[in-house]
C-alpha cells in the first residue's frame, strides 16, 4: 500500500540527479502518514522520518535504480535496523530451573502465550512447569490449568494464597521435579497501578527470572509507548512478545516498543492455539508495517 502511494510521489523524483530536501518532502509526508496509520507512535514516527531524511539527502542517485527506489530501500533498511536487525532467541542460560516471567496489560494474551511457550520448549526437549500466579481474574487459574492439560505440561496452582507464595512453592516443586524451565503467568495490570507493579517487582526479586517478557497486544495504539516504557523502567524486561498478529493490524506498535525500550521482540503470537507461535523476524515485520 505504501509502495502504491509512493509510486506517484516518487515518479516526480525521476530524472533528478540528487535527492534534495525539496523533492523528498512529499515522500516523507507520505511515509509519515503510513507510519501513523500503522500505529507507530507519533514521536517515534517523527524521529524516524528525520533520520531517514538525513540519510537520503545528498545521496547520489545511482544509475541502476530510480531515486524513489533508493528512498524505499533506505526506509526499509532503517526499519529493519530499528526493529533489531535479526532474531534474538530466548535466553535459557544459567543453572536450571530457568525462570521466564510474563507481564503486561490486561487481556494482552499472557496466559495463552504461557501455554504456547511451554509447548514450544517441550518440543525442544525441555521440561517446563507452568505457574498460575494470577489470583485476581475470575477463573484465571482454571484457564492455565486447562491449557496445561491440552499440551500435557504440568501447572503449579494453589488457590487462596499470594502470588509470592505460589511462586516460592512452585520453585520448590520445580527443583524437586527436575524441571528446567519455569514459566510464570501473572495477572494483567496497569503500569500506573502502584500496588500491582510492586507485586510484580517483588516476584522479580523472588524469582530472579532469566527472562521477563512484556506481552503486548499487536493492535495497541499510541499507548504502547507509555505502557512499555513504564514496565521497562520498573522491571528488568528482557524481551517483548507481540500477540494477535493473525489480525489485520499493521503492528506499528512493534517499532514504538522496540525504539522506546531497546529490548528485542522475541516472538510473535499469531493465533489462539498453542502451536500459533513464531520467532520474530525484523525483515518480515518491516514489510508488514509498510503495508
Amino acid at each position: 500500500q505504501l509502495r502504491e502511494n509512493l509510486e506517484g510521489v516518487l515518479k516526480k523524483l525521476r530524472g533528478q540527479g540528487k535527492i534534495t530536501e525539496a523533492n523528498i518532502q512529499d515522500t516523507m509526508r507520505e511515509i509519515r502518514q503510513t507510519l501513523l496509520e500503522a500505529d507507530v507512535n507519533f514521536t517515534v514516527a517523527r524521529d524516524f522520518i528525520q533520520h531517514v531524511t538525513e540519510k537520503a539527502l545528498g545521496v547520489q542517485v545511482l544509475k541502476s535504480i530510480t531515486p524513489g527506489q533508493q528512498i524505499i530501500k533506505i526506509i526499509h533498511e532503517e526499519l529493519i535496523h530499528l526493529l533489531g536487525e535479526e532474531n534474538v532467541p530466548l535466553n535459557l542460560s544459567g543453572l536450571p530451573p530457568t525462570v521466564i516471567m510474563l507481564v503486561g496489560l490486561q487481556g494482552s494474551g499472557k496466559t495463552t502465550f504461557a501455554a504456547k511457550l511451554a509447548r514450544h520448549l517441550k518440543e525442544q526437549g525441555k521440561r517446563p512447569l507452568l505457574v498460575a500466579a494470577d489470583v485476581y481474574r475470575p477463573a484465571a487459574i482454571d484457564q492455565l490449568v486447562r491449557l496445561g492439560e491440552h499440551i500435557d505440561v504440568p501447572v503449579y496452582e494453589q488457590k487462596g494464597v499470594t502470588p509470592a507464595k505460589i511462586c516460592r512453592q512452585a520453585m520448590e516443586k520445580a527443583r524437586q521435579d527436575n524441571t528446567n524451565v519455569v514459566i510464570v503467568d501473572t495477572a494483567g495490570r496497569l503500569h500506573i497501578d502502584e500496588k500491582m507493579m510492586n507485586e510484580v517487582k517483588e516476584l522479580q526479586n523472588l524469582l530472579h527470572p532469566r527472562e521477563i517478557l512484556f506481552i503486548a497486544d499487536g493492535m495497541i495504539g499510541q499507548d504502547a509507548v507509555t505502557a512499555a516504557r513504564d514496565f521497562n523502567d520498573q522491571l528488568s524486561v528482557t524481551g517483548v512478545v507481540l500477540t494477535k498478529m493473525d489480525g489485520d493490524t499493521r503492528g506499528g506498535a512493534a517499532l514504538s516498543i522496540k525504539t522506546v525500550t531497546g529490548k528485542p521482540i522475541k516472538f510473535i503470537s499469531s493465533g489462539e492455539k498453542p502451536e500459533d507461535l513464531e520467532a520474530f523476524h525484523p525483515a518480515r515485520f518491516a514489510d508488514r508495517i509498510l503495508g
Binding site: A38, F42, A139, A140, M219, G221, G247
Partner: protein
C-alpha cells in the same frame, strides 16, 4: 508580533502531538487542529485550559446526538449481545452490565455463549454470581448456537427482564468466525425476530487505528447499536471512539474504568474531554 506567531506554532505542534498520542488518528486530528486554529484566531490559546474549553465545545457538538441509554424497558425479555475481538473485555463488561441493570431492579439471565476458550464459562459464571444474575451454560457444547437458543428459550419462558449473551473473542478478518457470529444472530432471531435489541461492540481502550476497522467489519455482520470502550482507567485515551462515532454514527454507551463490577460508567462527553488531560 512575529514572536507571538512562533509561540503559537510551537503550541500547535504540541497540540498535534497530544491529539495523535490520544489515538485520534489522522482524519480526526487534522479536523480538530483546523477547528483549534480557527478558534485561536478569534481568541488566542495560551494554555491547556483554553484548549480544554475549545475541545469541550467541539466534542459536545460532535457527540450532540450521542444517546448512551439502553432501552431495557422496550422489550421483555430485552436481548443484549456483546461482540468484539479477543481480550477486549466482553465477559467482564457483561458482568458489569448485569450489575448495572440490577441496580435498576432488572433481573438478568446470562448466557454462556463462549464455548471455545479455556475456562470462559467458569469466568462468566463467577461474574453472574457476583451480579446476582441467573446463569445458563453447556460445558459440553462444541459451538454456541445450541446454548444460545436454549438460553433465549428459557428467557422467553421465564419472562426474564434481560438476556445478556457473551460471545467468544474473534478477529474480524477470520471469515469462519464472523460467519459464526451471523449464525448466532440468526439463531436468536428464530425465537425473537427483532432481537438482539442491543448489540454492543466491546473495544479495548488501548486499541489503535485498527479499532476503526473492527467497528466497520463487525458492523457488516450485524447491526451494532452501541460501543463500549474498556480499560480507560489506564493511560490510553481511546481516541478512535471519535472516528467510529463520526464514521458510523455508532453511539458510545459506556466506558470501562477498571476490573471491579461497578467500574462501568455511561458515556459522558464532558468527562471524556476531561480525561484527555488527566
Amino acid at each position: 508580533f512575529g514572536k507571538e506567531i512562533k509561540i503559537n506554532k510551537n503550541f500547535l505542534e504540541q497540540i498535534e502531538a497530544f491529539l495523535y498520542q490520544s489515538d485520534f488518528g489522522i482524519t480526526v486530528t487534522e479536523s480538530l487542529l483546523r477547528k483549534i486554529e480557527e478558534a485561536s484566531r478569534k481568541l488566542p490559546i495560551t494554555n491547556y485550559q483554553d484548549l480544554s474549553n475549545i475541545l469541550r465545545e467541539e466534542f459536545r457538538e460532535r457527540f450532540a446526538r450521542n444517546n448512551p441509554e439502553i432501552p431495557i424497558d422496550s422489550h421483555k425479555p430485552f436481548v443484549l449481545l456483546v461482540v468484539g475481538v479477543n481480550g477486549s473485555g466482553k465477559t467482564t463488561t457483561l458482568g458489569k452490565l448485569a450489575y448495572f441493570f440490577a441496580q435498576q431492579g432488572k433481573k438478568s439471565l446470562i448466557i454462556a455463549g463462549d464455548t471455545y476458550r479455556a475456562a470462559a464459562i467458569e469466568q462468566l459464571e463467577l461474574w453472574a454470581q457476583r451480579a446476582g444474575a441467573d446463569f445458563i451454560k453447556n460445558p459440553d457444547a462444541k459451538n454456541p448456537s445450541g446454548i444460545i437458543y436454549e438460553g433465549v428459550q428459557k428467557g422467553l419462558h421465564d419472562q426474564t427482564d434481560l438476556l445478556l449473551i457473551d460471545t467468544a473473542g474473534r478477529l474480524h478478518n477470520k471469515a469462519n468466525l464472523m460467519e459464526e457470529l451471523r449464525k448466532i444472530v440468526r439463531v436468536i432471531q428464530k425465537l425473537i425476530p427483532d432481537a438482539p435489541h442491543e448489540s454492543l461492540l466491546i473495544l479495548d481502550g488501548t486499541v489503535g487505528q485498527n479499532g476503526i476497522v473492527q467497528a466497520r467489519e463487525f458492523g457488516k455482520i450485524l447491526p451494532l447499536t452501541g460501543l463500549v470502550v474498556t480499560k480507560l482507567d489506564g493511560t490510553a485515551k481511546g481516541g478512535v471512539l471519535t472516528a467510529i462515532h463520526e464514521k458510523m454514527g455508532l453511539p458510545v454507551k459506556f466506558v470501562g474504568l477498571g476490573e471491579k463490577i461497578d467500574d462501568l460508567l455511561p458515556f459522558d462527553v464532558d468527562l471524556y474531554v476531561d480525561s484527555l488531560f488527566g
